[in-house]
């Protein structure tokens, strides 16, 4: 069991409307030197959260007390572009987030999230704007992410949109399964296939 199960999550959210947030921002390369997976929250968005001397930047949404404890991050379009570093997804998870909502994700980041138990929820650009507007109007806005029904809803107004996830990955997230469990169970099929490869 690689991560906690995900079912229905209701939480306030950190808003980060900047577009094209790359994984070098989510966790800069100089913090990728660990040989174990732990404490990646410390350097999550390091250079956007902190001055170079370590002083927190008070205006950055992840530093604002009003959003503290949120389990959802609503990010701008093309979230998670660039480097394949899974450390970015680990840092999201270690920071206490279980879901990232955006109108578009970079492919590798999205895969990495699904593999570590963070649900990437892709919504329409219009619904992303609705979510940002609601959070700006009321920072305590709650968002309900319902994986079984594949819906994301603004609790206060009931405004809702459905999202896509393939049934295999959905089942994994609901049960905390991962791909290695699946692959190990078809080992014989894989080794038979391997025999057919020319090189």
């Amino acid at each position: 069991m690689a991560y906690d199960k995900f079912n229905v999550l209701t939480s306030t959210a950190y808003p980060l409307p900047t577009e094209n947030v790359d994984t070098d921002q989510i966790i800069p390369a100089r913090f990728l030197k660990a040989t174990e997976r732990k404490d990646f929250d410390i350097n999550f968005f390091r250079d956007w959260r902190f001055e170079q001397d370590g002083t927190p930047k008070p205006d950055f949404p992840l530093n604002k007390e009003i959003y503290a404890g949120s389990k959802i991050l609503v990010g701008g379009r093309n979230f998670g572009s660039g480097s394949s570093r899974e450390h970015a997804a680990w840092s999201v998870y270690d920071f206490g987030l279980r879901c990232v909502i955006s109108s578009a994700f970079a492919d590798i980041f999205k895969n990495n999230c699904l593999n570590v138990g963070v649900l990437p929820v892709q919504v329409s650009p219009e619904f992303a704007d609705t979510l940002f507007d609601a959070i700006m109007a009321d920072p305590k806005t709650e968002i309900k992410v319902d994986l079984p029904n594949q819906t994301v809803t603004l609790v206060a107004t009931g405004q809702s949109e459905s999202f896509d996830i393939n049934s295999y990955k959905k089942d994994n997230m609901l049960n905390g399964f991962d791909d290695i469990d699946y692959l190990k169970n078809i080992e014989n099929e894989i080794s038979a296939f391997a025999e057919t490869r020319p090189f």
């Binding site: 690689a2 409307p17 900047t18 577009e19 094209n20 790359d22 070098d24 921002q25 800069p28 390369a29 100089r30 990728l32 030197k33 660990a34 040989t35 174990e36 997976r37 250079d47 170079q52 701008g76 379009r77 093309n78 572009s81 660039g82 480097s83 394949s84 570093r85 899974e86 450390h87 997804a89 578009a104 994700f105 970079a106 492919d107 590798i108 895969n111 990495n112 593999n115 570590v116 393939n166 049934s167 295999y168 990955k169 991962d178 791909d179 290695i180 699946y182 692959l183 190990k184 078809i186 080992e187 099929e189 894989i190 080794s191 296939f193 391997a194 490869r197 020319p198 090189f199």
Partner: protein, 465 residues
């Protein structure tokens, strides 16, 4: 139905299709390095699994290795620890390992092709997004996360939904001073940093047919910078010529057998792509970026566009220019620079050093410029010396460093200081990519060389005529 090159290679590696789920996708070649593999080995061991096909995985140290004094112990304790972990994990599981000092050592995407590990029609993955480089040989190659590294180690498969297909055709004749890097930056500027998300790209047209293998690698390398999972080019005589006789390519009858397969690797005339784009080579200038993603590029002689003329949100655009300390309407030519970085898996090959030397030969490095010239591998270093390029570099006042990823991602000591402006031949101009607060202009080795000798952003064509 007629097949694309991508379909042919992808479909032949699907072990099974999961209903309403991903494909179980078989991996022929797996590269690992010190940064994204240690946690995968921990996972493997904690589950009690072993490496199923150790001969299909290849380890090389590159991301945080120093580029001077590689004969000395690595001073940074955390980097040394990662390098040590890679060596130990490789030894324990019977994986070949080219560590620091090994004659085959270098950047993973340089040494793979160089040693003939990269082959047409193969599937190749690595915990590194620039794995797309290997697509230059007609392979399907892409970056994966650490969970997937563990999957490959323990099962030789990953679970991937099949990407959609895109073909990008560039035809015509490239102008003076226009290199493969410029072709790639031009395409990315048209596609934007996310335009190819969800797609796997095939590059076609006479511009790529006429391009060297090194140039094709540069283009495929940068596919990820427009969001594509990877990019590939159909193998041809040039590909086979490059590979023949390399240490790990098939030999004798195996080569002949492989050739029979490789010659089938092209998109059929009536193959259908999900989307297709056509660009004209004559429209491409030497390129430079001005913002904080690789899609923010333009011809070096152009001025920075106004916010209303670019795709995406105005606030994000202004934040980006603000970080760079640039303004809308600024010309790039003449901007004073502090650093030049020649190297990386994008432009750290012999051809890149030849291009750089073609400009700096008989000229001198500008006093205001600190230049880091970092070859992609020891074999590239050897070739530089064999061709006498090291003398040109030395006489022009530059210093050749030792191989590694270096300032491309600044995990080692090669960090551009805060606020400093660098013309870099690498692949990413993200905020702080080359060191906290650093500012990066992505460009070709020719633009980098011209800027290095003039001390300001310079159109290389002015020095080539």
């Amino acid at each position: 139905m007629a097949n694309t090159l991508f379909d042919k290679v992808w479909d032949s590696h699907v072990v099974r299709k999961v209903k309403d789920g991903p494909d179980v996708f078989f991996i022929d070649r797996h590269f690992i390095h010190e940064v994204t593999s240690p946690v995968a080995f921990l996972g493997l061991e904690s589950r009690g699994n072993s490496v199923v096909y150790p001969a299909k995985t290849f380890a090389t140290a590159d991301h945080n290795t120093p580029t001077i004094n590689q004969h000395l112990p690595v001073a940074d304790a955390l980097s040394a620890n990662q390098l040590d972990a890679l060596e130990k994990n490789a030894a324990k599981h019977g994986i070949s390992h080219w560590g620091l000092g090994d004659e085959n050592n270098g950047i993973v995407h340089v040494v793979g092709p160089e040693n003939g590990i990269t082959l047409p029609g193969a599937t190749i993955v690595c915990g590194d997004s620039h794995t797309s480089t290997h697509g230059a040989f007609g392979a399907i190659a892409f970056g994966i996360g650490t969970s997937e590294v563990e999957m490959v180690l323990s099962t030789q498969c990953i679970m991937q939904p099949k990407p959609k297909s895109m073909r990008i055709n560039v035809n015509g004749k490239l102008g003076l001073g226009v290199t493969p890097k410029d072709v790639a930056l031009y395409i990315i500027s048209k596609q934007t940093t996310s335009g190819a998300t969800g797609y796997f790209v095939e590059y076609a047209g006479d511009v790529f047919e006429n391009m060297s293998m090194e140039g094709r690698m540069t283009v495929c390398n940068l596919s990820i910078e427009m969001g594509a999972r990877g990019g590939m080019i159909a193998p041809d005589e040039k590909t086979f010529e490059y590979l023949k006789g390399r240490s790990q390519t098939p030999k004798g009858a195996d080569w002949d057998k492989a050739m029979k397969y490789w010659e089938t690797l092209y998109s059929e005339d009536d193959a259908k792509f999900d989307v297709e784009f056509n660009y004209d080579a004559a429209d491409i200038e030497p390129m430079i970026t001005y913002g904080t993603n690789p899609g923010m590029g333009m011809g070096v002689t152009k001025s920075i566009p106004n916010a209303e003329n670019v795709e995406g949100g105005v606030e994000t655009y202004k934040k980006s220019l603000g970080y760079m300390s640039f303004s809308e309407g600024d010309a790039m030519i003449g901007k004073e620079i502090d650093f030049v970085f020649l190297g990386s898996c994008t432009n750290g090959r012999i051809e890149d050093f030849r291009a750089f030397c073609s400009i700096v030969e008989g000229r001198k490095k500008a006093d205001n410029v600190t230049a880091w010239l970092v070859p992609g591998s020891h074999k590239v270093v050897d070739q530089i010396k064999a061709e006498g390029l090291d003398k040109i570099i030395d006489e022009a006042g530059f210093v050749l460093r030792e191989p590694g990823c270096s300032a491309c991602l600044a995990m080692n000591d090669d960090k551009i200081p805060s606020g400093k402006l660098s013309v870099s031949t690498s692949n990413r101009n993200f905020e702080g990519r080359q060191g906290p607060g650093s500012r990066t202009l992505l460009a070709s080795p020719l633009v980098a060389a011209a800027s290095a000798v003039e001390g300001v952003v310079t159109d290389p064509r002015t020095l080539l005529v």
